[in-house]
């Protein structure tokens, strides 16, 4: 099948990829670039496990075609830590046990980071509604919400 050449920036690095037109951005990240931190849970935009940032907008990578990423800047979980320094969200998820199996964690972290960039002091309800598109089956959400709250508080203090 004919492939399309795209140039896309992922976590600050420029990549050139030949992708099939039916491949999603999720397929391109995982199958072509082996950036497997972005997870596939449903391929229909219902679970949020593939949440990434596309030119600063929070999106499900399964709902974006790979060819649409041409010329765009993508941020994934692999780019969240600053070198050896974890992001406050990552740190708080570890310390407060905001994850169990960890399959939803990358998507939730990407989505939560976007929320805190827009709203440094969200209420519990605001966090719950912001993350309502990110399914977690292990935790019952309690420790996820607390981890986001704690990270928000620390980030406001900095």
């Amino acid at each position: 099948m004919a492939r399309t050449h795209i140039t896309t920036t992922v976590n600050g690095d420029e990549y050139e990829v030949l992708c099939e037109v039916e491949q999603t951005l999720l397929d391109v990240l995982r199958d072509e670039l082996q950036l497997t931190g972005t997870k596939e849970g449903c391929s229909s935009g219902d679970c949020g496990a593939c949440s990434v940032m596309v030119d600063g907008r929070l999106m499900c990578a399964c709902l974006v075609l790979g060819v649409e990423a041409d010329g765009k800047s993508i941020d994934t979980i692999e780019g969240m830590a600053d070198g050896e320094e974890l992001h406050p969200l990552q740190r708080n998820f570890l310390e407060l046990n905001g994850l169990q199996c960890g399959i939803c964690t990358p998507g939730i972290l990407v989505a939560a980071k976007n929320q805190l960039e827009r709203n440094a002091n969200p209420t519990e309800t605001e966090i719950r509604f912001w993350l309502a598109g990110n399914l977690c089956r292990c935790t019952g959400y309690d420790k996820i919400i607390r981890s986001v709250q704690a990270a928000a508080e620390q980030m406001r203090g900095n």
């Binding site: 099948m1 099939e20 039916e22 491949q23 397929d27 995982r30 199958d31 082996q34 950036l35 497997t36 931190g37 997870k39 596939e40 849970g41 449903c42 391929s43 229909s44 219902d46 679970c47 496990a49 994934t76 979980i77 692999e78 969240m80 974890l86 990552q90 998820f93 570890l94 310390e95 407060l96 046990n97 994850l99 169990q100 199996c101 960890g102 399959i103 939803c104 964690t105 990358p106 972290l109 309800t125 966090i127 719950r128 509604f129 993350l131 309502a132 598109g133 990110n134 399914l135 977690c136 089956r137 292990c138 935790t139 019952g140 959400y141 309690d142 420790k143 996820i144 919400i145 607390r146």
Partner: protein, 759 residues
């Protein structure tokens, strides 16, 4: 020497330093940065993509399959069908599993696999599936378990005869087994009752809904060795089942486990893995199969739908005198629902003398059910605890007081023959009565529900290995899977025994070639059983270090004791020696007897039963029937919480899974026998905005068989949930729902039918 299982077990006088703290999980950093590798995250050179052909017929004879066009398609490297699987007799475990992963004589449910292809890309594989021509003869189908029991119901398997019924040898049926679970004299018990309550309840299948679909890569060499990488709750179980159905030598199969993105029982048996193995064998290339969410819903999981009739009686002062039930469990297209758990667990936690339960398991044209936290129990407890609440109300007792009055204690012998050692049901009920939640006044318009639950907790075959590194730190290896954080709990127990900080310990998950057999990671058995073999391994390593110290000091080994991570002379009579740390001894292994390690293989026994109490406040929207969970508290006996945050996470996660099952989750079938909601949009699991914070109380009544007293905690948190939510709704609207899920249209109809004010 007595093994760890024969020793007294729990030591109440120990001063625990690591157990009971909350260190960061060692698998955590990889999981917050995207480094962690799950089932779908493996890529091998030359790897092909496998896809499975599934057809929508609920019940049909598979007449012919023509794969020639698919095989001829460029990029397609292999196609497999039933013809590639060894012929195993129907009605055997291997025969059933083989037929579930690839249809043979018939397709038995919507989505049943009929063929699979491996191609150089996913898109080629998908297109190749469309070229496979399958000829069917459509048969009448049956979805509902009670209809499947009728004399004129379509028969799924001609070999099934009802086990447990005399004279059934000549009758074709969908009822696989009828069992009776009984003790005492139930007629006498009802004769002694002043109050008798009875009702009928039903539930629909729900799906485990792990967020990670099953994913694997199989690579078969030309000499028949299979390397299988997959997400699994049991590497050894997968190896042995695949060896059975592909008639392979199990030593030639190496199953490695990925990180597992949730399982909850649903990843205890293989689906795409044997298919990938055959595609790999045929193509001589690695083959990856990752199920789609649609396939996960249509063809894996779900739990058993049930119908139950339950009757209970008590005296006017609140003592339960009799309990009777007639239960039907729908197991999907093949037997294996573990339905016996229902009759055994449904009343267990109450001090009952007279019980009679009949339970049937029925096949119908749905995917074969799989395990889910406390298989076949929560949906039955849904009815039991409705009647318990009804009796308490009729007697005029506080609901928890009523349950406390009937609580089983140490020495009680259950209907399945276990005599309880020290258990924590009374303490759990008392702790529930002391919560702010239970003491708080219920806001106007809300309802409050309580329920209790029990799970056996499992143990069984388990292996582990522990090695001291030359620098004095520790690596441990478990043969079990890590479903939610057992690696940190095991590391903590090793650290506790060895007197080292937990950061000095690293746990890895083994593959089947590294370890002896392990029973599946399920039944809340892992932290208990793997903990036992890790502790045993650590104690063996300690014994070896003491012997090395004795040799270094030239004293008898009895003169050495191990305290706080170092060998010391056990008394001044032994002599004056500076203590030798683990690192000191480890540094000298090359000039003594080589590396120091400990390993342990046991059929672990002594898992202590678990009990929980749930308290729920809810509000019901009078216009829509939507139930809003306002407040939730889980009180449960953990024996001893090794890592309390992890234990709380089990309680909270279990409760919210139960809330989903209680309020929304169900398989919906059309008249055509097709599943109508195979996706997260139409099969709605709870999202963050659906639930409040889940409060927890960890009760600790030590399990006398475990050195630290721990009990499994994974299943109990789901067992009371459906009933607690049902009772809360009943309290809010004045009529207790009896059909699961208690979804908005059903709750609204219930209110309207009962003439309750709706908006």
């Amino acid at each position: 020497m007595a093994t760890i299982l024969e020793q007294p077990g729990f030591n109440p006088d120990q001063d625990l330093k690591v157990v009971g703290t909350n260190p960061v999980k060692h698998d955590g950093p990889d999981k917050v940065t995207g480094r962690a590798k799950f089932g779908a995250d493996m890529y091998l050179p030359g790897m092909l993509y496998g896809k499975i052909l599934r057809r929508p017929h609920a019940h049909a004879v598979l007449k012919s399959i023509d794969i020639s066009a698919a095989e001829a398609m460029p990029g397609v490297n292999a196609v497999v069908t039933r013809d590639d699987f060894p012929e195993l007799p129907p009605g055997t475990p291997g025969g059933d599993l083989s037929r579930n992963v690839m249809a043979r004589e018939k397709v038995l449910y919507d989505g049943h696999p009929v063929a699979a292809v491996a191609a150089t890309s996913e898109s080629i594989a998908r297109r190749a599936l469309k070229l496979i021509k399958v000829e069917y003869e459509i048969l009448p189908h049956v979805i509902d378990p009670v209809k499947a029991m009728a004399a004129d119901a379509p028969i799924l398997h001609s070999h099934i005869r009802t086990k447990g019924v005399d004279g059934a040898e000549n009758t074709e049926t969908n009822v696989t087994e009828r069992m009776v679970s009984e003790m005492g004299d139930v007629d006498k018990g009802f004769a002694e009752a002043d109050i008798i309550v009875e009702s009928e309840f039903d539930s629909k299948p729900m799906h485990q809904s792990y967020i990670e679909p099953q994913g694997c890569v199989a690579s078969t060499s030309q000499d028949g060795q299979l390397d299988l990488y997959c997400c699994t709750q049991g590497i050894h179980v997968f190896r042995d089942r695949i060896a059975d159905i592909l008639e392979m030598d199990s030593a030639k199969i190496r199953v490695s486990q990925s990180e597992m993105g949730g399982g909850f029982g649903g990843k205890t048996s293989p689906y795409g893995e044997p298919v990938a193995a055959l595609l790999s064998k045929k193509s001589a290339r690695p083959v990856k199969i990752v199920l789609t969410r649609n396939e996960v819903f249509r063809c894996t999981g779900p739990v058993a739908a049930t119908q139950s009739k339950i009757k209970m009686g008590c005296t006017k002062d609140g003592k339960i005198t009799a309990a009777w039930a007639d239960l039907v469990f729908q197991t999907g297209a093949f037997t294996g629902s573990m339905f016996f758990n229902g009759p055994w667990a449904m009343f267990t936690r109450y001090d009952l003398e007279n019980i009679h339960v009949t339970a049937c398991e029925v096949v119908s044209n749905r995917p074969k059910v799989n395990a889910f936290r406390a298989p076949c129990v929560p949906q039955i407890v849904f009815g039991v605890e409705a009647l318990i609440t009804e009796m308490a109300q009729k007697v005029g007792m506080d609901e928890l007081e009523f349950r406390l009055k009937n609580a089983a204690t140490e020495g009680y012998t259950t209907v399945f023959g276990q005599t309880f050692e020290a258990i924590g049901f009374v303490e759990t009920l008392e702790a529930a009565m002391e919560t702010d939640h239970y003491k708080s006044e219920l806001p106007e318009g809300w309802g409050r529900g309580v329920s209790t639950g029990f799970w056996f907790n499992r143990d069984g075959d388990t292996t582990a290995s522990l090695t001291i590194t030359p620098g004095g730190s520790v690596t441990i290896m478990a043969g079990t899977s890590d479903v939610a954080g057992s690696r940190i709990a095991l590391s903590m127990m090793a650290a506790e025994e060895l007197g080292v900080p937990v950061d000095k310990v690293r746990a890895i998950l083994s593959d089947t070639s590294m370890m002896g057999n392990n029973r599946v990671t399920a039944g809340s058995r892992t932290t208990y059983s793997a903990g036992m073999v890790i502790i045993d391994s650590a104690r063996k390593a300690i014994a070896e270090m003491c012997s090395r110290a004795a040799e270094i000091w030239d004293v008898p080994v009895e003169g050495v004791e191990f305290i706080d991570g170092e060998c010391r002379p056990s008394s001044s009579n032994v002599g004056e020696f500076d203590p030798l740390s683990i690192a000191d001894i480890a540094a000298k292994t090359s000039v003594s007897h080589g590396a120091i390690s400990g390993h342990s293989e046991m059929n672990v026994t002594g898992a202590g039963p678990g009990f929980g109490v749930h308290l729920v406040d809810c509000e019901v929207d009078r216009g829509t029937g939507r139930v809003d969970i306002k407040r939730y508290t889980v009180i449960e006996d953990a024996g001893k919480a090794i890592h309390p945050l992890q234990v709380e996470g089990q309680y909270q996660g279990g409760a919210v899974q139960g809330v989903g099952w209680a309020l929304n989750e169900e398989y919906i079938y059309g008249e055509d026998g097709r599943l109508q909601n195979p996706g997260f949009l139409d099969y709605r699991i709870p999202v963050a905005s659906d639930v409040p914070m889940i409060d927890t109380v960890i009760v600790e009544v030590p399990n006398p068989r475990h050195p630290y007293g721990l009990r499994g905690v994974g299943e109990v948190p789901v067992t009371p949930t459906l009933a607690a939510v049902g009772n809360a709704i009943g309290d809010a609207i004045g009529i207790r729902p009896k059909s699961l899920p208690m979804s908005p249209p059903k709750v609204l109809k219930l209110m309207k039918d009962a003439g309750i004010n709706t908006k």
